[in-house]
């Protein structure tokens, strides 16, 4: 703190602290604490709130634990989000590498330009585009049938559709951190490895990926988190068999009307996300401060 006042003087330093305090206490901590409080109480009519029925318990969490279908969806959301993350990584890595190391500046800026276009229209519209494309009587089926690849239309909605739509939605969140970290890799490192006789795969495995680890971890953490928390894509592109945990949460709020239970479910999702993030970082030996650089 003294460093802060020393650098900016008491007036500015005070202003900064007030702003940060307002943000962290008012907008980050308080809502989450209140949500925890909410998650630990029963769903009551307004008349009963504060009454004898209004007691703290783990019932809402226990309900999730005891409901096999929800448990299953929860687990499925976890691994499916991991799958989305891996797929997004596979799709993005080669392009990120090319952009960062090989592309001429003008080609790179053109590609970056092309990349951002889908991302200036919002996530709902992006997903809607996939919804239209993948429809049973939609253009993708028509195209494949025209080519003779399919005899009758395929059902794309479901796990495949959700995967395609989510990977699409999160490309930039994966691409840019990886791009940034690969860009900081000195070209001579790659040339040195090649000069020493290394094949392309070995250069990536031994030189590029270890160097870009923090960027890759950042991309993966963001993608995982966004995938696990996504509502639009599974809602639009899912099928009866591919529900997402967020849909369950949404249902508690906007269909079942049990906000407390919804909050409890949201809490579980939050804990899950943070746990996955922290474990991933630990496993890959990346510190949180390296993330999101």
């Amino acid at each position: 703190m003294s460093a802060l006042t020393g650098r900016f003087g008491p007036g500015l330093a005070g202003l900064f602290l007030v702003l940060v305090g307002f943000w962290l206490a008012g907008l980050v901590l308080a809502p989450n604490l209140m949500m925890i409080d909410f998650a630990l109480r029963p769903n009551l009519l307004p008349a009963d709130v504060g009454g004898p029925l209004d007691t703290y318990s783990l019932d809402n969490l226990a309900y999730l634990a005891g409901e096999p279908v929800h448990r299953e969806i929860f687990l499925k959301t976890v691994w499916a989000s991991a799958l989305v993350t891996i797929a997004t990584f596979v799709v993005c890595y080669p392009l990120a590498f090319w952009l960062a190391q090989t592309a001429s500046p003008s080609a790179a800026s053109l590609v970056v330009l092309a990349l951002v276009i889908p991302f200036w229209i919002n996530e709902v519209l992006r997903t809607l585009a996939w919804y239209i494309l993948l429809a049973f009587r939609g253009p993708l089926n028509a195209f494949l049938m025209n080519l003779g690849i399919l005899d009758e239309p395929m059902r794309w909605y479901g796990d495949g559709g959700v995967l395609a739509g989510m990977v699409y939605a999160y490309i930039l969140f994966m691409l840019f951190p990886i791009y940034n970290s690969i860009e900081s890799l000195e070209k001579a490192q790659i040339e040195a490895a090649r000069d020493l006789g290394a094949a392309t795969w070995r250069i990536h495995l031994r030189i590029v990926i270890p160097h870009a680890k923090a960027g890759i971890a950042t991309g993966c953490v963001f993608t995982f988190m966004l995938a696990a928390g996504s509502y639009v894509a599974p809602a639009l592109l899912g099928a009866p068999g591919s529900r997402w945990f967020t849909q369950i949460i949404y249902n508690w709020f906007f269909e079942g009307g049990d906000w407390n239970r919804g909050a409890a479910y949201a809490l579980v999702l939050l804990v899950l996300c943070l746990a996955v993030v922290l474990i991933t970082l630990r496993v890959f030996r990346v510190s949180l401060t390296d993330v999101a650089k």
Partner: protein, 372 residues
Amino acid sequence: MSHSVALERVTMAFGETRAVDDVSFTVEPGEFFSILGPSGCGKTTILRMVAGFLAPSAGRVLIGERDMAGLGPNQRPTAMIFQSLALFPLMPVWENIAFGLEARGVSKEKRRRRAEELLDLIALSGYGERKISELSGGQKQRVAIARALAVEPQVLLLDEPLSALDLKLRQHMRAELRTIQKRTGVTFLYITHDQSEALAMSDRVAVMSAGVLQQVAAPRTLYDEPATPFVATFVGETNAVPGRVVAIENGEAALDTAHGRFTARAGAGLAAGAEATLYVRPEALTLARQGATAGEGAGPNVLAARAERLDFEGAFGLLHGATADGARLLAALPSTTLGGAPAPGAEIAFSFSTRDAIALPGHAQARPEEEP
């Protein structure tokens, strides 16, 4: 195998720029061969063509008599040491050294053993497990050399490997590089823009300017018998006195200049009556008696000047002077003789012997522009 590396009329054009223009030279096996020239003259481009990172626009690169066209860097019997060293920071020292063997599928155990041998060679035994970041600048340098030697190249290519080091360490590493080269017998193709480096280390030096090869010769020859004005001014400090040739005789030329007539060794292409410039090194100037004027005095060549400033630099003092028409002169005087050095403003005269000066055709190019 009669030569190690040969360039045959090699040209490299990047769009309009000819970074390397019709260059030919050969490097003998086991030679320490340097390419010297100012920034942007095409040195790195040559090295990258030899290494296989670039394909020449015209001409051939041969290594051990074999045409290298179409072979990638991982298919050539060369190893490169980059200016930045390009050590792999995330691998311990020994894995760095053994990386080329790893790429060739050598077993871990053998790699480990070979790395130890090379660590021995570079006097870093016991450093195998260190991180690269835990090494000093000179140690890194040596690891880079070991890494390159591990793949047993016929030719080691070095792109200004010392330029990132500070002066003391740079001087130390010169000796070290030289020693390793002699010990291993590998051909070194060495790039630098630092003339004292090239002169101190090399068997032979190729001097380049703007993509064009100026001279290939042993260091002493470059210094004493520059073939072109560029070499004369680029290699070492020199004083240039423009004039006109009046006579050439027995390999000695007489020049008429604004400061009188001087004699010097005649360089190649000198013709009587043509414009020429006389070059004389600062250390070849000695202080003639004060107040002497041209023509007077003991030696044949005496140049009158006014003393301006004496910079004491330790081993020697640099005496800055100016001639009557304002041209600057520089004389290097051993510190032990500085006792009676002239005060600023004093009229002085420098003398030099004919054999210490050389005359080359044309008027001297200006040195790379000093600040406005």
